[in-house]
C-alpha cells in the first residue's frame, strides 16, 4: 500500500519521458497524458480513503532510515491536496487539448507542451508528498522549471517579457529557500521534517524565529503574499489560458501548503503569528483594490488571486483548529474556483478575441453558455451564499471570532470588505463583458467554441458544486486534518516511531488545547 505513494511522482515523470519520445504523434501524446492524470486522480482517491482508515502513510525510498534517506508522507491534508490538484490538472489538460487544435498550431511547439505539463504535475505531487525539506526544495524546482517553460511557450515578445520577471523572482526565492535549508541543517543536523519537528522544539526562540522567517519569505514569494506578490499579476496573464489556470490554481497553493506545514509541523505556535495576520490583511486589501482598478479580465482575476491568498493566510495565522480546518477547506475550494475562472476567461477570449474589458461586450446575448460558465464560479469566488466560497469564508470568520483578539476582529472586517469588493470587481467584469451593446467586431467574429473546452469547464464547475453539496463531510475531513497537523504526534509518530513523538514539546491534546508548558518552563528556567 505504501508503494502507492511513489506513483503520483513516478507516473508523470515516466509519462513525460514517453510523451517526449512520441513528439510527432500529438494525439498519442494527449491520450497518454490523459491516462496518466486519470491514474493519478484514482491513486489520490485511494490514498484519501486509506489515510482516513489507517492514519498517516509513510514510504521510505530504498529502505534508508528516515534521517538519511528520502521519505514520502501522506496524511489527510496531502491526500486532499493531491485529489483536488490531480482533478484540476486533468480538466485543464482536456480543455487545452481543444485549444491547441483550434488555434495556430505552428506558433506553439505542442511537442513540448505535454511532457512539460506532466513534469509540472510531478513537481506539484512531489511538493505535496515530500517528507523532508530538501525533497520539498527539489519538488519546487521541478515545478518551477516546468512553469518557466510553460510560461514562455512559443517565445513571443510579451511572454518573454513577462517570464523575465517571473524567472528572476522565482530563482531568488529558490536561493533564499536553499540558504534556509543550509541554516536549518547547521542548526538541527537534519532535513527530515518529522526529525526537525522534534529537534527545532529545543532550539532557542531567536534561532527558531530566524529559521522560520527565512523559510517563510521563500514560501511567501511562491504563494504571492502581499509584500512579495508584485510579480504575479505581471507574469500570469500573458500565458495561454489553460497554463494560467493551472498556475493560478496550483502553484500559489503549493506555497500556501508549504506555509501551512511550516507553521504547524516545524514551527508550531509561532512567535510571528501577528506578522502573518498583518500580511494576510494587507494581501486581502491591496490585492482587491488592484483588481478593482484593472481593465483587463485576466489581470482582474490575477489580482483577486493575490487578494484571496490572504484568506488562507488568515486561517493559518490564527493557529487554531477552527482556523486550520477552514483554511484547508478554503484551499480546496479556491484551487477549483480560480482555475475555473481562468478557463472561463479563456472561453471569453476565444469567443471575443480579447480579454480587454473595454473591447468586450454583449457576450450574454451572443454566448449565453459562456455567460453561465463564468457566472457560477464568479459568484462562488465572491462568496454568495449557497456556494463553497461562502462556506469557507463563514468558517474563517467563525474562527476569527473564536480567536478573540483585536487582530482577529480587524481581519474579520477586512475579509468581509474584501468579499464585497470582490463582488464589485466581478460585477464590473459582468457589466463590461456580458452586458452592453456588442461591438461589430465581436458580432462579426463567428467562432464556434469547441465542445471539449466548455465540457472541461463544466466538469470543473460540477466539481466545485460538489465541494458545496458535500461541504458537511468535507468540513469534517478538513477538521480532522487540521487536528492531526496541529497535534503533530500522528505525523512524527508515523515517520519516526512513537518514542520520538513523545519528545514533542509544542502540540495540542485531543480537546484542542495547547500543550507547551514544558517548553515555556524550560526556556524560562
Amino acid at each position: 500500500m505504501e508503494l502507492l505513494l511513489a506513483l503520483p511522482v513516478m507516473l508523470p515523470l515516466v509519462g513525460a519521458a514517453i510523451t517526449l519520445l512520441l513528439r510527432h504523434h500529438t494525439r498519442l501524446q494527449l491520450g497518454l497524458a490523459v491516462v496518466t492524470l486519470v491514474a493519478i486522480f484514482t491513486i489520490a482517491l485511494v490514498l484519501a480513503w486509506h489515510v482516513t482508515q489507517e492514519g498517516v502513510l509513510v514510504l521510505q525510498i530504498g529502505n534508508w532510515t528516515p534521517q538519511l534517506g528520502i521519505v514520502l508522507v501522506a496524511d489527510r491534508l496531502t491526500a486532499l491536496m493531491l485529489t483536488v490538484s490531480s482533478f484540476v490538472t486533468l480538466a485543464v489538460l482536456v480543455y487545452s487539448s481543444a485549444q491547441s487544435v483550434s488555434e495556430n498550431v505552428e506558433r506553439t511547439p505542442v511537442a513540448i507542451y505535454h511532457p512539460t505539463y506532466l513534469t509540472l504535475v510531478a513537481g506539484v505531487s512531489m511538493a505535496f508528498l515530500a517528507g523532508d525539506l530538501f525533497n520539498l526544495y527539489v519538488g519546487f524546482e521541478v515545478l518551477l522549471a516546468s512553469s518557466y517553460v510553460l510560461l514562455t511557450l512559443g517565445g513571443s515578445a510579451s511572454r518573454v517579457r513577462a517570464a523575465t520577471t517571473y524567472v528572476i523572482v522565482s530563482v531568488l526565492s529558490s536561493v533564499i529557500f536553499l540558504s534556509a535549508i543550509a541554516a536549518i541543517y547547521a542548526a538541527a543536523g537534519t532535513v527530515n521534517m518529522a526529525e526537525l519537528a522534534v529537534r527545532l522544539d529545543g532550539l532557542e526562540p531567536g534561532t527558531r524565529m530566524i529559521l522560520e522567517l527565512m523559510l517563510l519569505v521563500a514560501f511567501a514569494i511562491k504563494a504571492a503574499i502581499f509584500p512579495l506578490s508584485a510579480w504575479l499579476p505581471d507574469s500570469y496573464p500573458t500565458a495561454p489560458a489553460p497554463v494560467t489556470a493551472v498556475f493560478a490554481g496550483l502553484l500559489t497553493k503549493v506555497g500556501i501548503y508549504a506555509i501551512l506545514r511550516l507553521e504547524t509541523l516545524l514551527f508550531p505556535f509561532s512567535q510571528i503569528s501577528n506578522l502573518l495576520l498583518a500580511a494576510a490583511g494587507l494581501s486581502l486589501l491591496i490585492g482587491i483594490l488592484g483588481a478593482v482598478a484593472q481593465t483587463d479580465l485576466k489581470r482582474v482575476l490575477s489580482f483577486t488571486l493575490v487578494s484571496h491568498m490572504g484568506y488562507m493566510l488568515f486561517g493559518i495565522g490564527m493557529v487554531t483548529q477552527l482556523g486550520m480546518a477552514a483554511t484547508i477547506y478554503y484551499v480546496a475550494h479556491h484551487i477549483t474556483v480560480q482555475s475555473t475562472l481562468f478557463l472561463a476567461a479563456g472561453l471569453i477570449e476565444h469567443r471575443g478575441g480579447t480579454t480587454d474589458l473595454i473591447k468586450l461586450g454583449g457576450l450574454q446575448k451572443l454566448a449565453p453558455l459562456i455567460a453561465v460558465l463564468f457566472f457560477i464560479p464568479a459568484m462562488n469566488l465572491a462568496g454568495i451564499p449557497p456556494f463553497s466560497g461562502f462556506i469557507g469564508k463563514v468558517g474563517l470568520i467563525e474562527a476569527g471570532i473564536a480567536y478573540g483578539s483585536t487582530a482577529g476582529w480587524i481581519l474579520i472586517a477586512v475579509s468581509v470588505l474584501t468579499s464585497l469588493l470582490t463582488l464589485y470587481a466581478i460585477a464590473k467584469i459582468w457589466n463590461r463583458a456580458f452586458w452592453q451593446e456588442p461591438s461589430e467586431e465581436i458580432v462579426a467574429r463567428e467562432v464556434q467554441t469547441p465542445k471539449v473546452m466548455t465540457g472541461a469547464t463544466t466538469a470543473m464547475i460540477v466539481f466545485s458544486l460538489a465541494l458545496t453539496v458535500f461541504a458537511g463531510p468535507l468540513m469534517n475531513y478538513a477538521d480532522e486534518a487540521a487536528h492531526s497537523v496541529l497535534q503533530r504526534t500522528p505525523y512524527v509518530g508515523a515517520v519516526l516511531g512513537d518514542e520520538a513523538a513523545a519528545d514533542l514539546r509544542y502540540r495540542i491534546d485531543d480537546q484542542g488545547t495547547r500543550l507547551d508548558d514544558g517548553a515555556a518552563q524550560e526556556v524560562g528556567g
Binding site: 518573454v160 523575465t164 520577471t165 528572476i168 480579454t355
Partner: protein, 215 residues
C-alpha cells in the same frame, strides 16, 4: 560547532557579489549573479557539514571521525538544478536579445501606468499643485477614459502592452522563416494604407483651399 572562517568569508563574498549583480538591469548579469550567490549558498552547506574528517566509506574507519556526507549530496543536487535553471535563463536572455535587441528586465506594468498618468497630468498644468492641476474638462476626460468611453490614446513611447493582447509585433527570427514573408507583406500593406489616407487628406485640403480661393 567548529566553523572554518575561510569558507564562511568566501561564501559571504560570493553572495555579496551575487546580490550586486542581481540588482543589475540586464537578464544575463542577473543570471550570473544567481550563479555566484548559488555557489555561496552551496558553500554554506559545506560549512553546515562540520569539521573535516576522513572520507565516509563503509568500513574505512571510525564513523565518528568521518565527514557528514549528507550536505555534499544536497550540494550536488543543488548544483545540477542551478545548472539547468541557468541554462534556461541564458536561453531566455538570448531570446529577449533576438526580439528586442537587448535583454533588459522590463519595468513593472503598474509603475509604467502610474508614470504615464503623471506625465499626462504634468502636460496639462505644470505649476499648479496636483489638486488644482486638473481642469473640469480634463477630469471628465479622465473619468471617461477610466470607464473606457474615451478615444483610444495615441501611440505611447512607454509601450502599450498593458493587456495580455499580443500587440507587440515580434521581429522575424530564424525560427519563423516561413512567416517572415507574410510579416513583411503585412507591414507593407499597413504602410500603403497609411499613405493612401494621407493622400486623401491632402486632396481634401487642396479642394478646400481651392474652394476658398474661388470665394
Amino acid at each position: 560547532m567548529h566553523v572554518s572562517l575561510a569558507l564562511l568569508l568566501t561564501a559571504g563574498v560570493l553572495i555579496a557579489c551575487g546580490v550586486y549583480l542581481v540588482l543589475e538591469r540586464t537578464l544575463s548579469r542577473i543570471m550570473l549573479g544567481f550563479v555566484l550567490a548559488g555557489n555561496g549558498v552551496n558553500l554554506l552547506f559545506i560549512v553546515a557539514a562540520g569539521p573535516i574528517g576522513t572520507p565516509p566509506f563503509e568500513g574505512s574507519g571510525d564513523p565518528e571521525s568521518m565527514t557528514d556526507p549528507l550536505p555534499f549530496a544536497m550540494v550536488l543536487t543543488a548544483i545540477v538544478i542551478s545548472l539547468g535553471i541557468t541554462a534556461f535563463g541564458m536561453a531566455l536572455a538570448y531570446r529577449a536579445w533576438q526580439l528586442f535587441g537587448h535583454d533588459e528586465v522590463p519595468d513593472d506594468v503598474e509603475d509604467r501606468r502610474v508614470l504615464r498618468r503623471r506625465r499626462r497630468r504634468s502636460e496639462d498644468a505644470e505649476r499648479l499643485p496636483w489638486s488644482q492641476a486638473l481642469t473640469e474638462e480634463a477630469r471628465r476626460g479622465a473619468l471617461a477614459q477610466s470607464q473606457g468611453l474615451g478615444a483610444r490614446e495615441a501611440e505611447d513611447p512607454l509601450g502599450s502592452d498593458l493587456t495580455s493582447a499580443e500587440d507587440v509585433p515580434a521581429d522575424a527570427t530564424e525560427a519563423d522563416e516561413g512567416d517572415a514573408d507574410a510579416l513583411r507583406e503585412a507591414v507593407r500593406r499597413r504602410r500603403d494604407h497609411r499613405r493612401g489616407e494621407a493622400a486623401a487628406l491632402r486632396h481634401e485640403i487642396r479642394d478646400r483651399t481651392n474652394d476658398e480661393e474661388d470665394i
